[in-house]
Symmetry: C3
Subunit: 283 residues, 3 copies
C-alpha cells in the first residue's frame, strides 16, 4: 500500500496522462447529464463522444480509449446500443465503467444491469443503494438518490467485486473503492455535490478518462479509480470556495478541473486505507 504522498503523486501523473493523451471517452449516458459529462471530460483534458444508437455505438466503442455505460435513461433501443458497445469493448480490451443509476429502485434497469455484469465491467461506480442492490441486497433508494450510508455498502461492494472481478466504488461523503481484496478511501469532495445533478455521473466519466489514459502503463484499476475520484473531489473542494450556490458551484467545478495543477493536487488529494486498517491492532 503506497504512502499518502505516493497516492497524490500518482493522481497527478494520471491527470497529466489524460491531458497529454486526450483519450477518446465514449459515453452512453443519460439525457440529464450529456452536456455536463462532455464538459467535465473536456475540462479534464479528454475527448468526449456521446453515441447511443445501436447503429453506431459498437463502431465507436471499438476505437475509444474507454467506455461509460450509464443507466440513467433507459429504453429497449438504448439497451441494445449499450450491449453493442459493451461487446465491442470486450472484443477490444477497452476498459469500461458501469454506472448503475437507480438500479434497485426500478425493475427494468436492474435486469439490464445484471445482464451487463456478465460482461465484467472494469469498474462499477454507484451510490450505496445502487451498489447494495447490485450485490443482491435491497438497497432502498429514492429515485436516483441513495437512502443508505456508504459505509453500510462496503461489505456489499467487496462481495460484488469478488463475485464479478470488477473494481467497485461506492461514492458518498467518503468514497470507498475495492477490488474485493484491497480497500481504499477518498476523503475529497464537498457537500454541495449533493445539490447538483449528475455529480456521480461526472465522477464515473472521470474514472473512464483516467482508465483510458493509464491502460497501457502498468494498469492498476483500483489505484486509477481511486485517483480519479480524488481528483474530482478535490476540484469540488476548490469550486466550493467561491460558489454562491449549486449552479455557480457547478461552473466553478468544471473550471477547477481545467485549472487543477500539480501543487494543488499534491497538497489536496486525500486517499488512504480505511482507518481500521491503518491503525495498529489493539495490544
Amino acid at each position: 500500500m503506497p504512502a499518502i504522498d505516493d497516492h497524490a503523486k500518482a493522481a497527478w501523473n494520471t491527470l497529466a496522462a489524460v491531458r497529454t493523451q486526450a483519450p477518446l471517452v465514449h459515453s452512453v449516458t443519460n439525457l440529464v447529464v450529456t452536456n455536463l459529462t462532455a464538459n467535465v471530460l473536456l475540462a479534464l483534458g479528454a475527448s468526449p463522444a456521446m453515441v447511443e444508437n445501436v447503429e453506431e455505438a459498437g463502431e465507436l466503442a471499438a476505437v475509444a480509449g474507454s467506455l461509460v455505460i450509464n443507466l440513467g435513461s433507459m429504453s429497449a433501443a438504448r439497451t441494445e446500443a449499450m450491449q453493442s458497445a459493451v461487446l465491442a469493448a470486450d472484443r477490444n480490451g477497452t476498459p469500461w465503467v458501469l454506472d448503475p443509476v437507480a438500479v434497485g429502485a426500478l425493475s427494468y434497469r436492474s435486469e439490464v444491469a445484471r445482464g451487463l455484469l456478465a460482461h465484467r465491467p472494469t469498474v462499477i461506480r454507484g451510490n450505496a443503494s445502487e451498489i447494495f442492490s447490485l450485490a443482491g441486497g435491497d438497497g432502498g433508494g429514492k429515485g436516483v438518490d441513495s437512502t443508505l450510508d456508504p459505509e453500510a455498502a462496503v461489505g456489499a461492494a467487496q462481495r460484488l467485486a469478488r463475485s464479478t472481478g470488477c473494481v467497485v466504488a461506492v461514492t458518498g461523503k467518503i468514497d470507498r473503492i475495492t477490488d474485493g481484496d484491497r480497500l481504499l478511501e477518498v476523503r475529497n469532495g464537498h457537500q454541495m455535490q449533493t445539490r447538483v445533478t449528475g455529480m456521480g455521473c461526472s465522477a464515473t466519466a472521470v474514472i473512464a478518462a483516467c482508465l483510458a489514459a493509464t491502460r497501457t502503463t502498468g494498469f492498476d484499476r483500483l489505484a486509477t479509480t481511486t485517483q480519479a475520484l480524488a481528483l474530482f473531489g478535490l476540484a469540488a473542494e476548490h469550486a466550493a470556495v467561491a460558489a454562491a450556490g449549486p449552479a455557480s458551484f457547478q461552473v466553478a467545478l468544471i473550471d477547477a478541473l481545467f485549472n487543477l495543477d500539480e501543487a494543488r493536487t499534491l497538497a489536496g488529494v486525500r486517499i488512504s486505507p480505511p482507518p481500521s486498517e491503518s491503525r495498529p491492532p489493539a495490544p
Copy 2:
C-alpha cells in the same frame, strides 16, 4: 381570500416543507431542459428523477411525490410513457402537472394533450397561446413562444379550469392562476426569464415540488400553485440583480432558489387578487 402578508407567509411555509421533505418529483420532460429542471428541483430542496421510458415511467410515478408531464419533446414512445406515468399517478392519487409546450402550434402533441386532459391533471401551466389552444381556441404561438398576452387568456383559463376541474396557470409578465372560480395574480419575475430556455418548464417543476410537499397538509392546489410561481419569480428577481446576461442570470437563479430565506420571501412575494376584484365597487 387571505391578505397579501398571509400569501407570503404561506409561500414560505411551502418552501420550508419542500426543503424538509425533499419529495421525489418525477419529470417526463423535454430533452432541452432535463438538466436545468433537475438542478432547479435540487436547488429548491426536492429530489428529482427523470424517467421517460414506458418500461419504467409507471413504476416511478407510483412512488413519486408528484409528477411532471411536459410535452416539449414528443414521440410515440414518449407518449406511451407519459400515459403510463399518468395512469400510475391516477391510481395513487399523486398530484401531477401538465406543461402543454407548443400545444396549438403542433398537431400531434395537441391531440396527445387532449387525451391527457381526460385524466384531469392537478395543475396545467402554460403560456397564453398554449392555454388558449388547450381551451379550444386558436392560440397562435410561434413554435414554443406565445404570441398572445397572458391577460387575453384569462377567460380561456377559467373555462379550461371549469371544464376539466384542474387549476390552470397562465404565466407571463403577470402570472394568472385560477380554479375556474377564484383567480390570483403573481407579480414576481423578471423579463430576463424570456431570454433563457426552460423557464416555463422550471416553473412547472417548482409547482410539482410544492404540490408534493403540501399534499398531505390541507392541500389547496390553487394556493400552492400560486405560491410556487411567486417563489420562482422572486428567485428570478434576486438573480437579475447581478446578472450580466441570460447565462449568468440562469446560474444566479438556481443559486437564488437555493438561498431563498424567510426574510426575502416575506418581503418579496407578490400574490394578489386581480386589481378589478381588489378595488371597491364604484360608489
Copy 3:
C-alpha cells in the same frame, strides 16, 4: 469583395435583423447541445424550437425561418424526422444548415449525410475532418474532434461547394467559408472554444438564425454565413477576457452574444479574403 469595414457593418446589420425579427429557428440537433443551442439562439435574439420526432418535424420546419440538421445524435427515428424536416424546408424555400458531426468517423451517419446532401443544404458547417470526409476524402477525425488542420480542408470545401451548390464553412482557429468560387476567412474566436462542448453546433445555430433574418433582404448566403461566424467568434473573444475556465467561459459567451453592440461589432469583426488573394501580385 467588400472592404473589411463593410463586412463588419454588414455583420452588425445581420445581428440587428435577428434581434428585430426574432426568427423561429427549428433545430433537429443532438442530445448533448439542445439546451446550449436554445440558449445561444435566445441570447442572439432568435426564437428557438427543438422538435425532432417524425410526427412533428415537418410541420414545424414548414413554418420556421430556418432549419438546423445536426447529426450529433442519430437513430433510425431521428433520421426519418430529419428527412421530413428537410423535405418541408425544400418545399417552402426555407434555408437550412447541415452540421455533419463526426461524419467520416461513423458509417451510419456518413450514409445519412450523403442522402441529405441530395437535398442541397443552404450551408454546411463542419470541422476539417468532417468537411474532408463529406467531400469524399478520408478525413481522419477522433470521435467528434477533427485531426486535420482547417487549411488542409479548404480544397475539399471548395470541391464540396461546387459539387453540391452549397456554401461550405470549415471552422477552426481560422474559419474558411466558400461557395466554391469566392473564399472568405474569419479570424475571430478563442482557443477556449475547443474546451467547451457544442461550440461548433452553436456556430451552426447562429448561421441558421442569421440566414432566417436575411432571407428576404438581398440574400447572400456566403456573406451571411461569414458574418454569423464572425459574430459568434467575436462574442467568444469578449467572453474569454474574464473567464476562469471553460464553464465560466461558456456562461460569458452567451452573455456576450446578448450584449454584443454596434461599437464592439464594428471594432471586432475580422472577415477578410485569404492572405494570398489580398496580397498584390509580385512585381
